[in-house]
Structures are given as structure tokens and as C-alpha cells.
Amino acid sequence: MRILFFDMGSFTYRDVKDAMESLGHEVHTIYYHFADRYKDDYFDDRFSYELEKKAYDLVFSVNFFPLVAKACKEKGLPYVSWSYDSPLDERMQNYFSYDTNHIFLFDRQEVADYNLKGYSRVCHMSLAVNVERIDRLGLSHRIKRDVSFVGKLYSSDLPTLMYPAEDYIKGYIDALLHVQLGLYGCNILESSISDDMVDMLNESYRKIGQDRVRLSKRGLAFAISTQITHFERKVLLDELAEEYDVHIYTADKAELTDKVSIHGPVKYYDEMYEVFASSRLNLCPTLRSIASGIPLRALDVLGSGSLLFSNYQPELAEYFTDGKDLITYESIDDAIAKAEYYLSHPEECESIALSGREAARSAFGYRDKVEKMLAGI
């Protein structure tokens, strides 16, 4: 097939393109960075112009782009998107129903939620890792640090959103946050927030003159999720740094104890894997809004032959065995206890990391995933 690959600088672009070409497809790329993914007159016109220049069999993108979906719908061209973003912005649902869409998400629970709402074009496809490309880096795996974390700490809007709320709502949301904090593999946030509560919150914004703020249940749930994620990541890093050599690699402004070594962001295709390979444990607490799926970062760690240290996620448990392929924890206390154990048993860490890589290689290859996604087109 002749595929037009639309990209906006995704991490997985190169691996997906290579997989497509290895399957014999002809791939042409269009790159464009949206200021506004929902309105861009120039893009509408220009993309349509580009689609007219050659006959394509389908358009593909990593992550879902509403204006790409709209253009493909207008041209009657299949549009396949495979997202590592989760959850998707609510407004994107307005573009889901086009019969030209084939939307693949890695979080099975998120897919189920969309299917329940009637969005049948949304399907599940876990993400992938290119173990062969990582192998070619020739990583030394000489351990230089105890624990690393590569990623964001997240700053949540929750404190701002709660500021004008009534005390009852503040108390309720605080309690809900603490319950969800202790729950892994199950997301109760949206189902625990009533429509009345959201209406009361929006009313409280209007009372302080914030008429344009309109919070949804999902938006509130996401704010709680990012607050939990921020808390969990910060606590784990700070606590572990009391006893161990802990490093974070992030573009965020990190407010952590002085004992955590803070570094800037790392390049995706090489520096990141070097960090993984030289760290005894690679901490990977999932963004809490991802209910069941395996995030890209987790697969990157596994594929590099480094030890993944993650919270419990249902889909991780389907493919990987705790204690054999990776280490998972089910509470902050559990995480601290396991970190202590494994950091004092380095030989076990090594064998788990190797086993994890082979499990990732066998079940999460790009070629297989891309072939499956394109099979139905």
C-alpha cells in the first residue's frame, strides 16, 4: 500500500515507519506542528492539497489528529491512528464516528469506555518496542546509579479547580483522591463523581466571575489523576533518595529533596536507553488516568534489558510475570520495601531484566502490531 504518514514529532514515528517499510509498504511523510489541533485553516487547505498530489491507500498517524480525520473523511480515505497519548482529550470524541477512522488505543479500559458510549471505531492495540534497534546501541549495562526515573512529575490543576469549591466538595474530592491513590489496576474516579457535584463546581466558578470555565466530569477526574501521579512520583523519589542514589531526568521544574539528583530531559533514541541500562531499578509509576494499559516508557525500559519497577497495571500482568520479568508494587509502602530488597540483590535484578527483555521482544514487536492494524484496511 501507499501510505501517507502524518506526524507531529512522535517518539514512535521512526519505528512505525520502519515496520511499514519492512512489510513492503511505500511510506510518504507529512510533518506539521499544530498550534490548535481543532482549528487550522491553513492545514485544512494544505493537507487537502497534499492528498490530491498522489493517490494514497490510507493515512496513518501516531496519536489522533481531528483535522486529519476530517480531511480523510472528506476524501473517503481510511485513517489509521495509534495513540500513545492517554487519555485522549474529550473534544476528540466529536471526530470519532467517521466511518473512515480506525482508532487504536493502548489502554483497554479506555477503549471499553468509548465502546460503551457507542464509538465502535475505537479498538485496542498495545504499544510496541523495537528491541533490535535498542540492541544496536550496544548498551553496556554498567550500573552507575541505584534508581532512575525518566519522565514528568506532572503539575495538576486540581488545587486551582478546588479553590472556590464548597467545603463539602473539597472534602469529598480529597477523600476520593486518597482512595484512588491506594487502588491500583482500577480507576473509580469518573464513576464516583456525580453530575450534581460537577454542576456545583461550575456554579462556584461563575460566582467568582469565571464564566468561561466549564469543567466536565472527565476533566475533574483527570485533574485528580495528575495530582495522584505527582504525589506518588514525588513521594517515591524523595523516600528512596533517603537511602539510595536516585536520579530523575525531566523537563519539568522538579521540587524534590536535595538528595534526588535532578537532570534535564534526555534524547529518546539513545540517551534515554543509556540511563535505563546504567540504573539498577527504573522507576515507572504510570500516569493514574491510564487504567489498564502498558505505557510506552515501560516497554522502552523492558526492551532495553533494564529492570522495570512499575505500579501494578492489569495489562502488564497479562504479559509479564512479577518477580520474573519485572517488579510491580501495589502501594507506596510496597514499592519502598521491594526497592530495598532488590537493590540489595543485584544478581536477581539482572536476571529479571534479561527475562523482561525477551518477553517484550516476543509479544511487543512493531512489525506484528502494524501488520495487525493494517490488516483490516
Binding site: S10, F11, Y32, H33, R46, F47, Y49, K267, Y268
Partner: protein, 154 residues
Amino acid sequence: MKIVAVTYGTETREEIEKDLERISGLISGLEDSGRLFGKDTLDCIGDNSDIVMLDTSKDKRPYFSRDIRNEHPDILVSYDLAGFELTTLTDGLAYNLIDCRQIHLIKSDKLSNEKRLNEVMSINMFFFTKDRVIEDYLKENYPKIPFIDSIEKE
């Protein structure tokens, strides 16, 4: 209309204004120029543009591309691939993250960042060469360039 011009310090404001005027005329004459370049952007290259000049020969900070974005340019202009060495975390072109129309003028046949033209480039980028010789060379060796034309016309 704000134009950010990234150079190696060899172009004057007057030269940049003159080049933009020539290119504006050139683009207007192209088939489908409105769809390719965006009519509203075309209309705005003119005397009333505020030109901010950034000199990469002096500024080697790794976050220089962020400074460009913070200027919120309506059009980005570069000379001889100045700034093409700036990268994203996936080693792509940092200019790809700047969401405005971009005019990349190439006047020299010795480009220190030439190999960067092997990277994926945004459809926001428009390359104009000093002459057809440079245009033909770049077209043949760098097929990923989304648009290229020469200022020199027969």
C-alpha cells in the same frame, strides 16, 4: 506581523527586507500559492513587518529554539540553514516545532548544516535558493525538502 530572522550575523535588516520582497513576489506568481503558503500569510509580508534578528553565531544556548518560539513569529526566516543544528528530543529539527510559515533562504553553496536536510521537515517550510545550481543540487540530494525554488529566474 512579526518576522523572526535567524542568521549567522552576516545579513543586515535591509537585505532581509529586500529578500522578503523578492520572495513575496515570487510566491504570488506560483500556481496554488494560496493553498501552499496560506493567503493570509502572503498578504502580510510587507513594509509594516517587525523584524526580530537572532544571530546563531553568538548564541549557542541549547534552548535557543525556545527563545524563537517565545517571540511568537508570524514568519520565521533563516539564512543558509542557520538554526538547523537545533534538535528536538527525538533528534528532529527544532524548527519543526515552530508553528508558523518558514522561509529558508540559501545563498551559499557551503552549508555547515547541510546533512540536517535529511531529516523530516514540516510542510510549513519553504526553501529559496540564490540560483538554480544550488536548487538543483539540493533537490537531487535531499528529496525530503517539502518545497524548493530559486530566486533566480530565467
